[in-house]
């Protein structure tokens, strides 16, 4: 298991959040949990990074937030992708692929 999100490659936290939200609106805790589950506990997102990141993305206009009711029947703030966020996801996704590809090439051939 990764020790902290600081070991995430730079910029990947935004990508993970965007990808997670592509499946539909989620609240903060659920986003963290989904990332942890999807990565089979390899990645964990700390609260100390998650909420600042979510707010940064709100400021950038990638996400929108609204209050709703959670599955546990509690008042919760749900985040969802905006059209701008969707574009950013596509952009970041291909950017990430290229980077990984590049790194792999270096590791193989250098």
């Amino acid at each position: 298991m990764a020790q902290s999100s600081s070991e995430l490659l730079p910029g990947t936290l935004f990508l993970l959040i965007l990808r997670t939200l592509a499946g539909g609106p989620l609240h903060g805790y659920a986003i963290a949990k989904r990332i942890k589950e999807s990565s089979k506990d390899l990645l964990s997102v700390e609260e100390g990074s998650l909420y600042p990141a979510l707010n940064r993305m709100l400021v950038k206009g990638w996400l929108a937030a609204e209050w709703g009711v959670s599955e546990t029947n509690r008042k919760a703030r749900f985040y969802k992708l905006t059209p701008v966020g969707r574009k950013e996801l596509a952009r970041a996704n291909s950017e990430f692929d290229r980077m990984i590809h590049g790194i792999q090439l270096v590791l193989k051939n250098a």
Partner: protein, 853 residues
């Protein structure tokens, strides 16, 4: 968009905090629920969940940070706090703002004046591709040369303008002289000069005028239907084609203005040349084309004594490009000096405020100690202080700009007593705004930095505990610096004040009190032949001579101190030697020197039937050209000297020993001076008493002529103008500097007395009389002034030396009289400043003062 959301956030911070708290609570609860599903007790699960979550406060801070322009947030609280502290001490606030307002007001006004006079763009379309050009070193050329360049098709456009023309306007049985700009018929369209009403002068226009906004308002009652109206100008009906906008600036620059624009006369006129260059062509490209054109001009229309291809000059229409000619560099230097003095003045004001802030800082030591103990870092306190000075300087700058607005408006309306019309359109613009912001920032730094460093170090505490007189505290150093700076300003001010006095009192070398000039401008079309004009001139001269109270009359081409004409170059002496001489040149009638009161030292004056080749020279000319021995009978270029006259001044008051040559004014009546006839008249009594009678008598002879008569004492326009303008500007600044310094000295003395009340009380209780208490205060005042004086005089002695170029020769920059005046002024200001504090010290009641303990 991002900043917009951030701005919205600023308004809804409460909501944000509540939302985030709710979100965090949910997070912790969900995690606790999960943990308890894994088998933990609910309390234990909640505890673990909280521990995992970490500090909510730090999370909130970091999350909030995403939304903030954090410096703005801090600035907001600093500003609010600063405004509150300033509001709590209005006396401090107002004295600081007043000091700054005076400094900034004076400084920005000089800035406005400089930018307007030197750098204002003329009212044209695309001034960057418009150029003023000279060929053959001539400022003006004939219409033939203009036509030649136009037809050479070297430039997209070539136009000409004569900036100092005049016309006679006949209205309601009266003839009024008007200042006129004579333009080639393509100037308006080529330069793209905008008009407010109607249209400009268009190609093919004749007998058409465009009038200035001032003329439209003051002389034509702002009639909105004025376009198409007909004015009788120079005896011919002229149709008004258009009205210029109020802020029209002519292409001649330097505020040169006119009542009307009219097409230039086809013959006998000379004009400045303007060309429209191809888009993007730079100065050297224009110069290349011009040189090509000038060389062809030399082939097509050769001149005897000049080559058109020599001294070709291309000048830009605005900005620094105007300073290529040497005569402009003197003016530029003068304005640079004004700006420097303005800067010094602002520095004095800054020191005042800096001192006030320091004084207040020592009273606020406790406040800062409290803030520091509550955890405010030194940086934070310095920032708080700087914010306060920023507020002060912002308020001071605003108030200064208000002063600037009213001062520049008043200066726009000043009408200088000059033969040409100069109108300035100073108005606040982006340049002023940018300059003022720069000033404000610089001022805040100068004012705030020293006190901030000082106070944040807590050094004031030490100063409070150790109020021993004689120790040079920072505040005293500042006042000494202030006195020194103001001595430099004062020295400049006194120099220019003396310069003005010397100019007014200057002996021109001829009689100012019993002479006047009579200038009659005839309508050119009424006097087509030289004979007609000559016979009218003769009639006017007889009319003047026969008038009661007139002693003698003599014609002249130039009015002393109003016109000038200089000739230079090599002249051939009778022994075959060629001698280079630059001299004043005039044409004069018989009895000229007797009329104006200049003694003839050898030979004679011109007579009524003087041969064409006779000349009279002055002593300087004779000495420079012929050396020792009599000049009578010797020749200059085949002209024979018949008389030598005493040196006098001709056009300027610093015409010191300027060579002059005079030729007979007889047959070539009015040549070169656009139909103006001029006489100097000597009177038995006060010439002012004769003005109206003579004007009426001359006016009878030709009703369409414009007659101007002025006693010479009142007609020193051009000669006195520079000294008057410089004297007024620098004198004003000197007074302001003195005032600000007096305020600074007063502040320090008052503060020092307040601090030493207990000491003074003790001294009085121990038997010190009023005299020794007074001595206490005056000694401190004397110390501050003395050291400041020593330093200031030393600096002033060196830095005022370059000013000598602006002063009449009788005034030297190292004349002790100037420095004596400065010392007396400063001493007087210092004494005035110490009266208040001294009285306060004298009133100290030992019983009250000692009870403070």
């Amino acid at each position: 968009m991002t900043w917009w959301k951030k701005l919205l956030f600023l308004r809804n911070r409460g909501q944000f905090d509540a939302d985030l708290a709710e979100e965090m609570r949910l997070h912790i609860e969900e995690r606790a629920a999960e943990l308890s599903r894994a088998g933990l007790t609910p309390t234990e699960a909640l505890r673990r969940a909280r521990a995992e979550f970490g500090s909510p406060t730090s999370l909130r801070e970091r999350t909030r940070l995403e939304w903030q322009f954090s410096w703005i947030e801090d600035l907001r609280s600093d500003l609010r706090y600063g405004a509150r502290t300033l509001a709590a001490s209005p006396a401090f606030f107002f004295s600081a703002v007043l000091s700054l307002a005076l400094g900034v007001g004076a400084n920005t006004t000089l800035f406005s004046l400089t930018t307007e006079f030197l750098f204002a763009e003329p009212s044209v379309n695309n001034s960057r591709s418009l150029w003023r050009v000279r060929v053959g070193g001539n400022s003006h050329v004939g219409i033939a040369q203009l036509r030649f360049l136009q037809e050479a098709k070297l430039f997209p456009g070539v136009a000409g303008m004569r900036e100092d023309g005049e016309v006679n306007w006949r209205i309601n049985g009266e003839t009024r002289p008007l200042q006129a700009m004579r333009v080639s018929d393509n100037l308006f369209s080529m330069a793209g000069i905008p008009v407010a009403l109607g249209r400009g002068i268009l190609p093919g226009d004749e007998d058409t005028v465009v009038i200035s906004d001032a003329m439209w308002r003051s002389k034509l009652a702002a009639d909105p239907t004025v376009v198409g109206r007909v004015l009788e100008i120079d005896g011919r009906p002229h149709r008004i084609a258009g009205v210029l906008p109020p802020d029209h600036r002519s292409v001649a620059g330097f505020g040169l203005s006119a009542d009307i624009y009219a097409p230039v006369r086809a013959t006998g006129s000379s004009v400045m040349l303007f060309v429209r260059g191809p888009e993007g062509a730079d100065r050297s490209a224009i110069l290349e084309r011009l040189q090509f054109g000038a060389r062809r001009m030399d082939e097509a229309m050769p001149e005897r004594d000049l080559k058109w291809a020599d001294e070709n000059v291309v000048e830009g229409m605005a900005g620094i490009d105007r300073f290529k000619s040497r005569s402009m560099q003197g003016v530029g230097g003068f304005f640079a000096m004004l700006m420097i003095v303005g800067g010094l003045l602002l520095l004095i004001a800054c020191i005042n405020v800096s001192n006030l802030v320091l004084a207040r800082g020592s009273a606020r030591v406790q406040e800062f100690a409290v803030r520091a103990s509550l955890g405010a870092g030194r940086g934070r306190i310095v920032r708080q202080l700087l914010t306060e000075t920023l507020l002060l300087t912002a308020a001071g700058t605003m108030a200064g700009l208000v002063i600037n607005y009213f001062l520049t408006r008043a200066m726009n309306h000043v009408q200088l007593d000059l033969p040409v019309l100069i109108v300035l359109h100073m108005a606040p613009d982006w340049r002023l705004a940018a300059y003022a912001s720069l000033l404000a920032a610089g001022t805040a730094l100068v004012v705030g930095l020293l006190p901030a460093i000082r106070i944040s170090r807590g050094e004031l505490h030490g100063a409070m505990k150790n109020p021993i007189a004689g120790r040079m505290t920072l505040r005293r150093v500042l006042v000494v610096a202030q006195v020194a700076v103001s001595i430099v300003v004062l020295t400049a001010a006194v120099l220019f004040a003396r310069n003005l006095l010397a100019s007014v009192a200057a002996e021109p070398g001829f009689d100012l009190d019993r002479t006047m000039f009579v200038r009659v401008r005839l309508v050119p079309d009424s006097y087509k032949s030289v004979e007609a004009k000559a016979s009218m001139a003769e009639r006017i001269e007889r009319e003047l001579e026969s008038a009661q109270g007139v002693v003698s009359v003599s014609a002249t081409r130039l009015i002393p101190f109003n016109d000038d004409s200089t000739r230079g170059g090599a002249r051939r002496r009778d022994d075959g030697e060629n001698i280079v001489i630059r001299h004043h040149s005039n044409r004069i009638g018989p009895r000229y020197f007797a009329t104006i009161g200049v003694p003839v030292v050898a030979g004679r004056e011109f007579t009524a039937n003087e041969p064409e080749n006779s000349i009279i020279v002055n002593e300087s000319f004779a000495r420079n050209f012929f050396g020792q021995g009599s000049a009578i009978g010797r020749t200059v270029d085949k002209q024979t000297v018949v008389g030598v006259v005493r040196d006098s001044k001709y056009a300027y008051l610093n015409d010191h020993m300027r060579p002059a040559m005079f030729e007979p004014y007889r047959t070539r009546l009015g040549e070169g001076r656009e139909s103006a006839l001029i006489w100097m008249v000597r009177t038995a009594g006060d010439p002012a008493a004769l003005v109206n009678g003579l004007r009426a008598r001359v006016g009878e002879l030709d009703r369409s002529a414009a007659v101007e008569i002025r006693p010479m004492r009142n007609a020193l326009g051009i000669a006195l103008m520079p000294s008057q303008v410089a004297g007024a500007l620098l004198g004003g600044m000197g007074v302001l500097g003195l005032l600000l310094t007096a305020v600074g000295v007063y502040g320090v003395l008052a503060f020092s007395v307040a601090r030493r009340i207990r000491e003074i009380g003790l001294r009085v209780a121990l038997g010190a009389g009023p005299a020794s208490v007074m001595r206490l205060v005056l000694r401190e005042c004397g110390l501050l002034l003395g050291i400041g004086l020593g330093i200031g005089l030393l600096i002033a002695f060196f830095v005022t030396r370059p000013l000598s170029t602006f002063l009449v020769p009788d005034i030297s920059t190292n004349d002790p009289v100037t420095y004596l005046a400065v010392v007396l002024l400063i001493a007087a200001a210092g004494t005035a400043a110490s009266i208040g504090p001294a009285r306060r010290a004298l009133r100290v009641d030992p019983m009250v003062a000692l009870r403070y303990e």
